[in-house]
Amino acid sequence: MKTENVSPASPFAYAPAPESRSVVDIAPSYGLFIDGEFTEAADGKVFKSLSPSTEEVLSEVAQAGEADVDRAVKAARKAFEKWSALPGAERAKYLFRIARIIQERSRELAVLETLDNGKPIKETRDADLPLVAAHFFYYAGWADKLDHAGYGANPRPLGVAGQVIPWNFPLLMLAWKIAPALATGNTVVLKPAETTPLSALFFADICRQAGLPKGVVNILPGYGDAGAALTAHPDVNKVAFTGSTAVGKQIARTVAGTDKKLTLELGGKGANIVFDDAPIDQAVEGIVTGIFFNQGQVCCAGSRLLVQESIQDELLDSLKRRLSTLRLGDPLDKNTDIGAINSAEQLARITALAETGEAEGAERWSAPCELPASGYWFAPTLFTNVTQAHTVARDEIFGPVLSVLTFRTPEEAVAKANNTQYGLSAGIWTEKGSRILAVANRLRAGVVWANTFNKFDPTSPFGGYKESGFGREGGRHGLEAYLDV
């Protein structure tokens, strides 16, 4: 198939359509949220939160240290007694109230998240925020039905949950952590990532708006040292972490030998397998969603494309043509498809891994798009002629970089897909239902999508195999991590 990848400049140029920034009021400074109050850090330290698309300082935020962790855990411990004694139906009321407030404030929160994280408003508006609210609604529904969750009558909460979340879906990861913890009667100390603390602090305000009892939710913005102190704190009963595999291993060592319950949701190198009978245009959309959603900064991203060799040329032509239409730029513009990379550090990591890919002989292709002068940006990129031996086929890049590999038979596809230290996600593209089932059964990945990718729902459990972690979040299975069962 012959394709012209470069189309003439379109006369239909979309005028800027920015979402209004005035819907969110960001204060010049924020404190830690401990025992229902905003407070300074014990040592008075602060750090700045930047907008990665412009490098503008959004706010100055108190930086939690060990003493603050101790203070927050004590507050959570104190609140636990009454909170866990509340009837489930009463806890549910708070969660429903929080969910409704999130919906009411969703535009404000979407703009805030886009500013602090760099992801396009299209995603925060249409994916992050609806999922955040849905997660609270879903677990609110469980709060008074725990007797029927499959763990016997009256399953007990664990106590204080120490939760550390990443910067890629700041508010959504908070929802994944806090909603099941509260529904089951635990109290929470949560540390958001240092590059994206703001939506968690707005959530603290929502807790106050909902009248949530003091100390039930505590938010500690800070760096890795605060996370380490939190997971090591002796009075924490449950540790939940989403982030890199390296930090996850460190946490596993920290909690080893204690009676803390641990769930880890770590890295991934998801395989998106496209068979020769796949619907090409829809598969291309799925590949794009799989690796360019949130600039590829997604643990379950479909970062390895495994395409049947017989359709490789046709698929790659279509994919390149499609990538050429992606709109990269101002994340607040409603027509932006690709936003900014979250931080200078992450951009450096992506850049270095892409350079390694080139150095190792993989063929690099980037979508033709102009990168803004300020902020952290990386053009959507493909690597072809990649083999299992290439670094870009093995290491998690956590950026908008897709490695393309080929296979000849379903057996080879499964073998290559499973040949990774990770096991979080996979995708299968074929018009043949029997093949979907046969292949899915043999993939060692926590979630397998068929003819779609990156679809999330609070009712569906999510988690990994191997170095992608253990434990499940979401669905009925997500309750287990927060119950003494």
């Binding site: 198939m1 012959k2 394709t3 012209e4 189309s7 003439p8 400049a9 379109s10 006369p11 239909f12 140029a13 979309y14 005028a15 800027p16 359509a17 299209k122 249409d126 619907p279 245009d281 829809q282 598969a283 959309e285 799925g286 239409t325 409603k334 027509n335 018009e431 003819n451 779609t452």
Partner: protein, 288 residues
């Protein structure tokens, strides 16, 4: 075709936010792409003349308004329509081949086409034999299009699939390829006479088909969604589909048309709103 993925992509493109200068461009482009249509048993020469006048001067208060691409009528109204648009670049399109059902002998269908062409039709909108298609007789469908193309002579041929009757996206894609291989100048969704007509998803899939066909053969084919597109908002969504699927080469009324009637007045009202900053009302556009 994967129905879920196709519809999701069409819906995703539907969230594009087209404002200010882009909106003004899109409105004028959409007006220029309309096949202004009347296909009623009650059509009279008076009605067709009014339609022709509307096509030539869509907004009598603003002569910068572009003309529509064509008027679309039954074969017996072609001569009247030609007179109504005489001296302008507005084309006359005629439905033919026992429109809308297409249930007649091939000889009758060809006579219908010859009649329209003889009366001066610039474009022929034929319907495919859905009965043959659904019975699996694709060759008959193909050969009929080839025969119609031959008697259409210089007139450009639009091939209507009646997507609502073909029902599945796989069928629509197959019909698109049959039509293009048989020599269609345009592929067109529907007659406007059944329940489901043009949708963003079926138009998206036809745009993918013409894009792929040109990539393979070098031959460019036009697309015409028809029926059910009534608002400016909808029309702009279709133009976004064109822009981001087939590309800029199709952003021209030689390659993309809207089969519509009430759409025009909504476009005109939105055009007045953009020009003046005020909403007018249905009495500030002509009812024809």
């Amino acid at each position: 075709m994967d129905a879920v993925g196709l519809e999701a992509r069409a819906a995703g493109l539907g969230t594009r936010s087209i404002k200010t200068s882009a909106k003004a461009y899109a409105i004028d482009l959409a007006i220029s792409m309309i096949d202004l249509t009347t296909l009623e048993g009650a059509d009279t020469p008076g009605k067709v003349r009014a339609l022709g006048a509307k096509a030539v001067h869509p907004d009598p208060t603003d002569r910068t308004t572009p003309r529509t691409a064509a008027v679309c009528v039954y074969p017996d109204m072609v001569a009247t329509a030609k007179q109504a648009v005489a001296g302008t670049d507005v084309k006359v399109a005629s439905v033919a081949t026992a429109f809308p059902a297409g249930r007649a002998a091939l000889a009758v269908k060809l006579a219908d086409v010859r009649d329209a062409v003889a009366a001066g039709a610039d474009e022929i909108d034929m319907v495919i034999d859905r009965g043959a298609f659904l019975a699996g007789d694709y060759l008959k469908v193909y050969e009929e299009i080839v025969a119609v193309k031959e008697v259409s002579a210089q007139a450009r041929l639009k091939v209507i699939f009646e997507t609502g009757e073909l029902s599945t996206y796989d069928n629509i894609r197959r019909a698109s390829w049959i039509g293009m291989l048989a020599g269609a100048d345009f592929i067109k969704t529907s007659t406007g006479k059944v329940g489901v007509n043009a949708t963003p998803a079926n138009t998206l899939l036809m745009l993918e088909a013409v894009r792929d066909f040109r990539a393979q053969t070098g031959v460019q084919v036009g697309v015409k969604p028809a029926g059910g597109i009534r608002s400016t908002k909808d029309a702009i969504k279709f133009l976004v589909l064109v822009n981001e699927t087939a590309g800029a080469d199709w952003l021209d009324n030689h390659w993309f048309r809207f089969g519509a009637s009430s759409l025009l007045n909504d476009l005109l009202m939105q055009r007045q709103k953009l020009a003046t900053g005020r909403y007018s009302g249905p009495d500030y556009v002509t009812v024809d």
